[in-house]
Amino acid sequence: MEIWITAIIYGLATSGILFLVSLALSIGYGLMRVVNMEAMLYYSFGAYVTYTIISVTGSFILGALGGMVVGAGLGLIVETQLLRKIYDRPMMFTMVVTFGVFMIGIGIIQFVWGLEPKPVASPISAIVKIFGGVQIPAYRLLIIVVAIAAYILIQLMMNRTIIGKALRAGIDNRENVEGLGVNINKIFTITFIVASAFAGLGGALNAPLVMVGPYMGFDMLLFAFITVILGGLGSIKGTMVAALILGQVINVGGTLWAPLAFVGPFIVMFFTILIRPTGLFGKEI
């Protein structure tokens, strides 16, 4: 019994990371109809910056903040300098270009931090006992809390702020929003920055759980893809639901039969796509 509760809670933590890192992919598609392969750079850079700041200052909080800032900064540069200019090009073109950007980013990481994977120590080593004796590392619970906070934050942003309203209107009909006098490009940029900051945060939070290496973005890219495909490209709610499902598939499935931790998500995605070619919450492209 305990083993299952542990798996479920670990699954929620995985979901949290998946949700944070997939947001930039999902939003990039929802706003600009661009499958932005480079989205995982914000994640990798977030993790690396966290590693560097921790090794200099020793503070994980500073590190995570730094990861967010760097993620956001990269998002700003990529969105304004690249994505905005290519969003009306064919899908193939944008995918290969953004993949090229991703490769350049990996190259930069290799120049700056080298090829060796870097370990990051967990900032909280405490173990929390819940449900009468199930031992869960407090750090996993922290990730869950942060992810929930991020989801609430982004929902508040979408529903309560004028930017979110303009954004929802803009996804609905970009031209009419512009016609009112709203600079929709600016709104999109702000949203994209928020999403890339979350990806940076995802990298920071995941750093203590995995080795920080040049190819960590690649490994995550696949899972992020599966998350957004399963949830439906462009839907925030879908991304969240898909992250929840996949977190459980990876951890509970992995407990059942170890290879499921890796293959499970793919299987779930394939069957979903066969039944609903646009994912759970996606709209027709």
Partner: protein
């Protein structure tokens, strides 16, 4: 066609405009002028290029040749949102409100863009909107949507409001109400309207342009002539 005279109070001037959709040439050699506080109508059969002309003036399409001036300043190639902020509002055909947002949120968006949060003039003109304020805009009737769109357009006191077929598909009594609103708005704002409803045109038009197959074929500026003129030959 008569040339465009260069009087001082021209709000919008369009000179020798050519517009293409990709390879498709849609507008040919369009010249027109709208003066301050006029009510100008644009008529023509479907596919004549009226909507394209509107979209070009509003900045959604960029001309291949020719020039558009707003108060003497060229707005060629300017982004649509900047033109809107300069005081040119464009209400699309098909009454496209943001269906996902409430009436209030729709109005907020317009206020956000213009910085004008005074909704009193809107509610004075369309009291019904005040009642419907929390309704999702997608659930409004056609007439109510048009009211909302006009309300959103007059926030920020624009110089020019362009409306594309505002009365299309509406019941006759709703059209009558809207016609009253047109007159009301025209007291403070210049109007440029695409319309197929001839009685409304006869009632309030200062000037009428007729388009056919991408060209302006007739300009009629005399009130009496407008009332008596039978436009059917151009439709």
């Amino acid at each position: 066609m008569s040339g465009v005279d260069m009087s001082q109070n021209a709000l919008i001037e369009v000179d020798d405009l050519y517009v293409n959709y990709g390879k498709l040439a849609v507008l040919f050699d369009i010249s027109l002028k709208i003066n301050q506080s006029e009510v100008v109508f644009l008529v023509g059969r479907n596919g004549a290029g009226k909507t394209t002309l509107f979209r070009t003036i509003a900045g959604f399409l960029h001309p291949k040749e020719g020039e558009i001036k707003l108060k003497g300043e060229s707005i060629n190639g300017m982004g649509a949102y900047r033109i809107a902020r300069k005081g040119v509002k464009y209400i699309h055909q098909d009454k496209q409100v943001f269906g996902d947002l409430s009436v209030k949120e729709n109005l907020e968006l317009s206020s956000y863009a213009t910085g004008d949060y005074n909704w009193e003039p809107v509610f004075a003109m369309f009291p019904k909107l005040k009642i419907l304020i929390d309704r999702k805009a997608g659930k409004l009737s056609g007439g109510e949507k048009q009211m909302l769109l006009m309300g959103m357009a007059i926030i920020g006191k624009p110089d020019l409001v362009m409306m594309d077929e505002p009365t299309e598909g509406l019941a006759p009594h709703v059209i009558q109400d809207l016609a009253v609103s047109f007159k009301e708005i025209s007291k403070t704002t210049t109007l440029f309207i695409v319309e197929q409803n001839l009685p409304i045109i006869a009632d309030i038009a200062d000037r009428v342009y007729c388009m056919k197959e991408g060209k302006i074929i007739v300009e009629e500026g005399c009130r009496e002539d407008i009332q008596n003129l039978c436009f059917e030959q151009y439709l």
